[in-house]
């Protein structure tokens, strides 16, 4: 074990949040709850990236007091990456919800096990 677990507690929280989201994804049979778990994982990634870009005492990356030095601001690259992540997660969530609606219209259930059982019955 490295000794940085306590100083890096933001990252630790992000990782635990990721695990919680993954557990939700695995444990729940309801499709909507699975999608919620997926979004929790997304949020953990945003937190992780934002934390990685932070520099203690740094300003937001917008020109302040005319200072153009790297040490004065936080790192702008992770902020841009978080933006990308948010857009992609919105798109993916919308797509998953649309698919869930289609499945619900077909099988009238949100339970993934019942759904696959009904699909198998239809194949026979």
């Amino acid at each position: 074990m490295g000794g940085n677990l306590l100083t890096n507690f933001y990252e630790a929280v992000a990782v635990i949040l990721f695990g919680i989201g993954f557990t939700t994804l695995l444990l729940h049979r309801n499709m909507i709850k699975k999608i919620l778990g997926f979004n929790i994982m997304d949020t953990a990634i945003y937190l992780f990236l934002a934390v990685k870009g932070y520099i203690t005492g740094g300003m937001a990356p917008i020109l302040t007091n005319g200072v153009e030095e790297q040490a004065y601001y936080i790192n702008p690259v992770p902020s841009g990456l978080v933006l990308t992540g948010i857009v992609v997660s919105v798109s993916v969530t919308a797509l998953m919800l649309a698919l869930t609606i289609r499945l619900y219209r077909r099988y009238h259930t949100l339970d993934i096990d019942k759904m696959s059982m009904l699909a198998k019955k239809e194949d026979l």
Binding site: M1, G2, G3, N4, L5, T7, N8, F9, Y10, E11, A12, V15, I16, F18, G19, F22, T23, L26, L27, V51, K52, G53, Y54, I55, T56, G58, A60, P61, I62, L63, E68, E69, Q70, A71, Y73, N75, P76, V77, P78, S79, G80, L83, T84, I86, V87, V88, V90, S91, V92, A94, L95, L97, A98, L99, I101, R102, D113
Partner: protein, 342 residues
């Protein structure tokens, strides 16, 4: 030299020979009679054999049927098993394994976190020459005061183009999945099903409180969204956040006043034209770097004075394009998920 007997054919020896060779002896009536008897006997044997075989096949059939019946009984006995006990056992094992797996993942990741560089340290390896260039040369090269806007719309403009396309393609997929086909093989659906599918049936809306508050709130919301989009290179915000705010305003308008009012200025056709037009403008505006060798991002567009609203070259129009795409996509998602189609 032996002498051939002229009566050889009728001689006893010949008869014996014939008998030995098994040839037919036709001139002896007794023998033929005997043969007929034998034939009859063999016929009887055959019949008996056939009967015997028939009984054997019958028995085999019966055994097969019995076996089948027993297997079917077994099936019937265990048919319900996976649905009752089996699923329960499987779920228990699955849940325990899932939680164990997640705990393992979390502990491995926590171990990795404990080896990561210190939080907030300016000398961390990710604070390298890339953000240094973005911050120290950003204003000179892009003209945007907001370093993030300069980064995502100038240095990494292709990345943002891809993002807007991701949004557009997601909207297309949702459209394909959820749009109601009104021209469905000429069959007229019942009125109730149609009303369930199409929210337009419940209009006009007469919610006075919602309408009053919406008429107060919608202008500031949309103006604020436009402000955020236009000030993307000067302050926090930009195309994505401002577009989301404008989309929220449109959704509120739709909820308060219904489809009939909003279709006076925003229909499916408007959505198509705005989205495709904005994406095309973005692609054209940024594709010049292909033709200039992609390394010299000189646009010939004046940068202006950093800090002014009309500055920083292409960033302002690109922000507007992105904002339009995002606003239309948000509104499109909402209308599609409300079953009405756009």
């Amino acid at each position: 030299m032996s002498k051939l007997n002229p009566n050889y054919e009728a001689s006893k020896w010949r008869k014996i020979e014939r008998f030995v060779n098994g040839e037919e002896i036709s001139d002896n009536p007794n023998l033929s009679k005997h043969e007929e008897e034998i034939r009859e006997a063999s016929q009887e044997d055959k019949e008996r054999n056939e009967q015997f075989e028939a009984t054997i096949t019958d028995l085999e059939d019966r055994i097969q049927k019995e076996r089948k019946r027993s297997i079917e009984a077994l099936y019937r006995k265990y048919e319900k098993w996976p649905q009752t006990k089996g699923i329960k056992i499987f779920t228990h094992i699955y849940r325990i394994l899932a939680v164990l797996f997640c705990v393992c993942i979390i502990s491995v990741l926590l171990m990795t976190v404990s080896y990561l560089p210190t939080f907030g340290d300016a000398s961390n390896p990710n604070n390298n020459e890339v953000p240094k260039r973005y911050i120290e040369k950003g204003i000179e090269e892009t003209g945007a005061i907001n370093f993030v806007a300069g980064m995502i719309l100038d240095y990494r403009a292709f990345d943002t183009l891809g993002e807007s396309h991701v949004l557009f393609i997601a909207a297309c997929c949702v459209l394909i999945l959820l749009r109601i086909d009104h021209s469905k093989n000429g069959k007229k659906p019942t009125e109730k099903a149609e009303a369930e599918e199409d929210d337009r049936k419940f209009e006009p809306k007469n919610d006075k409180i919602l309408q009053k508050i919406a008429s107060l709130l919608i202008p500031p919301i949309i103006i604020y969204g436009i402000y955020v989009v236009l000030n993307g290179h000067l302050s926090p915000g930009g195309g994505f956040s401002g577009g989301a705010i404008i989309g929220a305003g449109l959704i509120l308008y739709l909820n308060a006043f219904g489809y009939e009012k909003i279709e006076k200025f925003f229909t499916y056709k408007t959505y198509q034209r705005i989205t495709v037009g904005a994406l095309l403008f973005y692609a054209c505006a940024k594709s010049y770097s292909f033709y200039t060798g992609a390394n010299h991002l000189e646009s010939g567009i004046p940068k202006g004075i950093p800090g002014n609203i009309l500055s920083s070259g292409l960033i302002l129009p690109l922000n507007v394009a992105v904002g339009l795409v995002v606003a239309c996509t948000m509104y499109g998602f909402y209308t599609l998920f409300r079953k009405g189609g756009m």
